[in-house]
């Protein structure tokens, strides 16, 4: 079956990954000390933003892996229903 978009399993896996990355106790690892810094930027800040961009990249890859045909090319067409997908 032609499944547009990421699969449900991938989606849930990424969600769980994000949940763990963005929350204590994982977050507390980078909360060790105010002195800890990289290029003078506190590691906590660096960690959160890089984890964030990391997750976005993963989601983008998952979305792209089975992306539907470019929708912008078929503007003006009457709305067609994408293939059914038992989600």
């Amino acid at each position: 079956m032609n499944r547009p978009g990421p699969t449900r399993e991938k989606t849930i896996a990424l969600f769980l990954l994000g949940l763990i990355l963005f929350n204590p106790p994982f977050l507390n690892i980078f909360n060790a000390s105010a002195q800890a810094s990289l290029f003078q930027i506190p590691v906590l800040y660096i960690y959160i933003f890089s984890a964030w961009i990391f997750l976005i990249v993963l989601v983008a890859r998952a979305a792209k892996s089975a992306e539907p045909p470019e929708p912008s090319r078929q503007k003006d067409k009457p709305k067609t229903h994408p293939p059914r997908d038992a989600a």
Partner: protein, 903 residues
């Protein structure tokens, strides 16, 4: 340079630009050339999530709590990783059933309940009000700061201007007017506002650019890169504390994340842009990462700006919420300040426009229209064109919402920081979460559950967040917070049941969700859904499995006149749009509506959906019901509507059953096949025996002409006997075949049974005497006549007697033939005193070719078909045949025949 007039004109100019974009978008949409039908515009329009709360408030929160502002954006990121799974389902449901607001969604899911729709509307109205007021506050504050630019008065407290010079009021009125122009130009069946979406997307770009501009300015122009800012900040202990998250509890962090996760779906404006305005659910695939990327970009410079502001204004009492604006001003960059102000204006107006459109739709569709329909239904259904009324209600609602927001701002709002107000609204919107998420995945959720859950959650929200805020504003006694109501400590709104250690929002979120989800689950489990609720539940939960979306709603059965439906639609969505809708429908179905005698259920459903888009599912249902005769389906029939899952289970049961039946039939066929083979081999065996002996004797006669005449005669006798036997066998096989294939010729007549039996015994008398068998007859003359085929019965009698003769051939014995009358009719008994038949053989003796103890007795005469044929004959004549026997004592074959008078 930045005179009030200049700022005012720039602001108005900006709003006019927005309007131009919206107008362009709408006119393109009318021509069918949508400019918003692509995933990028969709993602940008989602960024209406970032209001002035983000724009100004994030910096404020970061200045006091470090990374504490981030969960508000990490939550939506997490929810969007699940977007393809959850949001797409909500979108699909809404598109399929023309759902136009969050209230509509919940009410439609739980049996098209007006009560739920109204409740959701009220919660949204009350909960979002402070949020709207927050936007007004942000615009007016930023305007005041900009106007007082010039350095001399930056630090003074905001003046409480007189009513006429009140900026916020003008902002409010301006926004209301703008929203009315945007959002309520006409009533549309899909309730999509492409122009508005275009404008919102544009605003999202402006606010992002403005914020990035000020971020870059602070980081790289005022300071020398982010490293330097953080380095300077680390020199001050009070700022260094912000580098960690020690000031924020784990529970609070998690609570905020979850809150934002739910809010990104449940906030009315997010539902509007994310679901209602979605043009194509495939756009969601890109939005799942583009929107989080936007959130990341707009938050990138929050911490540098906050730290920079704290360093620059260290010691001076400047509200950190205004750093974004204050830093460019204090650095003398007027143009940047103006740009930032416009960015903030974008953030605020975007939110107000979308929110008021969303809530005004709810107010008109789920609050006012149902009430009107209920109170003055007759009057309403007489009036001519009601789309004007709908528009009027919405416009009034928009003005009402904005003015209420303004009132809140004047009365309460100023006591609060931006972020706190926003979070209070989030917590209110989160109350919709269980009903929505539960509703799309859990079929068992009921209306009662949703209703009680919402009421309980909303009640706790009011008690733990709104009441104390009134107390803080001095409206009610502060002792409510410090001592609890009536001095009951355990009920203190900020420490309910003694729960301490959480901030107010997380505390409220915990208790309200506890009450909400608890009631939702409990009452769903212990209440019985109506048939309509069950139907809707299935439609929602299994939206991806609906083969044809038009065929599932079984709740319209009656008939309506086509023109009634058309005129109904005309009155609510306008003549032009109604006709366009019906024309499309007719074309799709290949019908001509003018010649259609009456509307079928499908057309009724179509009308309901058309109206649902304009005025909500619950109201549409009532309106259509007023036109349809014999509306709806009787309760018993509704109860028969089985959930699809149950049907699937039933199908699989049926399949299994069919499979078992097939298997059984197959077994039977195999058995029959086996029996046929057996029959054939037996019959050929039986044919071969006489043939062999005929051939043997014939060959002897042929090859030896010198055989004595006496001997020859003996051989010829054998030949005749064997040939007879062969003929008999073939006749019997033919008889049996005819009997089994029902092609036998029956001559049914009435005859005297004793006479027939006497006739039969006479024919075998000779044979019996030869074998020394004594015959005793008991024929009870005077028996009523019986009905049947005389010749066949005779055949049966002779067969039974000759069987008896055979078993007593060698020993001789006693044969008794009796005819008597029983309840079943006439009974014929042929009893011998031969060896008898073993019990296990008694059942089988009527089978073809069965010969009891055949080898022992070496019976050459029987071929084993006689009893089988007799059984067939008797049973065909409605009689019964059986054997009673005991080994060594003899056997009695009995059969019955119905009497003539018995019929």
């Amino acid at each position: 340079m930045l005179t009030p007039w200049f700022i005012f004109i720039v602001s108005i100019g900006y709003l006019c630009l927005l309007f131009a974009i919206a107008y362009y978008g709408d006119s393109r949409a009318d021509k069918g050339e949508s400019i918003v039908r692509n995933p990028y515009i969709y993602s940008l329009s989602l960024a209406v999530y970032c209001t002035s709360w983000t724009y100004y408030g994030s910096v404020g929160r970061a200045a006091s709590g470090g990374v504490g502002f981030l969960p508000i954006y990490l939550g939506p990121t997490l929810m969007f990783t699940l977007g393809w799974f959850i949001l797409r389902k909500i979108i699909r449901i809404s598109k399929t059933y023309n759902i136009t607001s969050i209230a509509d969604f919940i009410s439609t899911r739980y049996g098209k309940s007006h009560l739920l729709g109204g409740l959701v509307t009220i919660i949204a109205l009350v909960g979002i009000m402070p949020y709207v007021s927050l936007q007004l506050k942000a615009v007016s504050t930023s305007y005041d700061i900009l106007v007082r630019y010039g350095g001399q008065d930056l630090l003074s407290a905001p003046s409480n201007g007189s009513f006429l010079t009140d900026t916020a009021l003008y902002v409010a009125l301006l926004l209301a007017a703008f929203t009315i122009l945007f959002g309520t130009r006409h009533i549309d069946a899909t309730e999509q506002h492409q122009g508005m979406v275009a404008a919102i997307a544009f605003e999202s770009i402006v606010k992002l650019l403005a914020f990035l501009a000020v971020g870059v300015f602070v980081t790289y122009s005022v300071f020398d890169g982010p490293g330097e800012i953080f380095h300077q900040a680390s020199a001050r202990p009070e700022l260094e504390a912000l580098f960690t998250m020690d000031h924020m509890g784990d529970g609070e962090w998690l609570g905020m994340t979850l809150l934002a996760m739910v809010a990104i779906v449940c906030l009315p404006r997010q539902f509007q842009v994310g679901v209602v305005e979605n043009m194509d659910e495939r756009h969601l695939a890109k939005a799942t990462w583009l929107f989080p990327l936007y959130l990341l970009a707009i938050n990138l410079f929050v911490l540098p700006i906050a730290m920079g502001g704290l360093i620059l204004f260290g010691g001076i009492n400047i509200d950190a919420d205004t750093f974004v604006l204050a830093i460019p001003i204090s650095e003398g960059n007027a143009w940047l300040a103006l740009f930032v102000f416009i960015g903030g204006l974008s953030a605020a107006t975007g939110m107000v426009i979308v929110t008021t459109i969303a809530i005004s739709t709810m107010v008109s569709n789920d609050l006012v229209m149902p009430l009107l329909l209920r109170v003055g239904r007759l009057h309403l259904s007489e009036s001519k064109n009601l789309s004007g009324l709908l528009l009027g209600i919405r416009r009034a609602a928009i003005i009402l919402i904005v003015l209420l927001g303004y009132t809140y701002f004047r009365l309460v709002g100023e006591a609060y920081a931006l972020v706190t107000i926003g979070l209070v609204a989030f917590a209110a919107a989160a109350q919709f979460g269980p009903a929505i998420f539960g509703g799309i995945f859990w079929r068992g959720a009921t209306r009662t559950g949703a209703l009680t859950g919402l009421i309980a959650g909303f009640g706790v929200w009011v008690y733990t967040l709104v009441l104390p805020s009134f107390a803080l504003s001095g409206w009610i006694d502060q002792s409510l917070i410090s001592e609890g109501p009536f001095g009951i400590n355990i009920l203190k709104p900020y420490e309910l049941f003694g729960l301490r250690g959480l901030d107010h929002i997380t505390h409220s979120l915990f208790w309200s969700m506890f009450a909400n989800i608890g009631c939702y689950l409990l009452f769903s489990l212990y209440s019985r859904p109506t048939a309509l609720e069950r139907n809707q539940a299935t439609l929602f939960v299994e939206v991806f499995r609906q083969r044809d979306k038009h065929d599932r709603d079984v709740f319209w059965r009656g008939h309506a006149a086509v023109e009634d439906l058309v005129s109904l639609a005309e009155r609510f969505i306008g003549t032009k749009r109604a006709h366009r809708g019906f024309d499309q429908y007719a074309r799709r179905r290949g019908l001509d509506l003018k010649t259609l005698p009456s509307a079928d259920a499908d057309l009724v459903k179509f009308t309901e959906r058309l109206l649902a888009g304009a005025m909500g599912g619950a109201s549409a249902r009532i309106l259509v019901a007023s036109v349809v005769k014999g509306e709806g389906v009787p309760v018993e029939e509704m109860m028969e509507i089985v959930d699809e899952a149950t049907q699937v289970i039933e199908y699989s049961h049926e399949l299994e059953k069919a499979h078992a039946e097939l298997k059984e039939a197959n077994e039977q066929l195999k058995e029959l096949d086996r029996m046929k083979d057996e029959f054939l081999s037996t019959i050929t065996h039986e044919l071969r025996t006489p043939l062999t002996s005929i051939r043997a004797f014939a060959e002897i006669l042929q090859s030896d002409p010198s055989i004595a005449a006496e001997k020859r005669q003996e051989f010829l006798d054998i030949l005749v006997k064997e040939t007879n036997r062969l003929t008999r066998l073939v006749n019997q096989v033919l008889d049996l075949a005819k009997l089994e294939s029902q092609r036998f010729d029956w001559t049914i007549e009435t005859f005297d049974l004793p006479e027939l039996v006497l006739d039969g015994t006479r024919r075998v008398e000779q044979l019996l005497e030869q074998n020394n068998i004594a015959l005793s007859l008991n024929l009870s003359p005077g028996l009523p006549p019986v009905q049947g085929d005389k010749d066949k019965i005779l055949q049966v009698v002779i067969n039974l007697i000759s069987n008896a003769q055979k078993v007593m051939e060698e020993t001789g014995g006693q044969l008794s033939v009796t005819v008597s009358k029983t309840e079943e009719g006439a009974l014929v008994t042929v009893a011998d005193n031969g060896p008898g038949i073993a019990e296990e053989d008694q059942r089988l003796i009527f089978d073809r070719f069965y010969q009891a103890n055949q080898k022992e007795r070496g019976n050459p005469m029987g071929v084993g078909l006689g009893l089988a044929i007799s059984q067939k004959i008797v049973e065909h004549l409605n009689g019964r045949i059986w054997v009673e026997s005991e080994l060594g004592l003899g056997s009695a074959f009995c059969f019955t025949l119905p009497l003539k008078e018995a019929e």
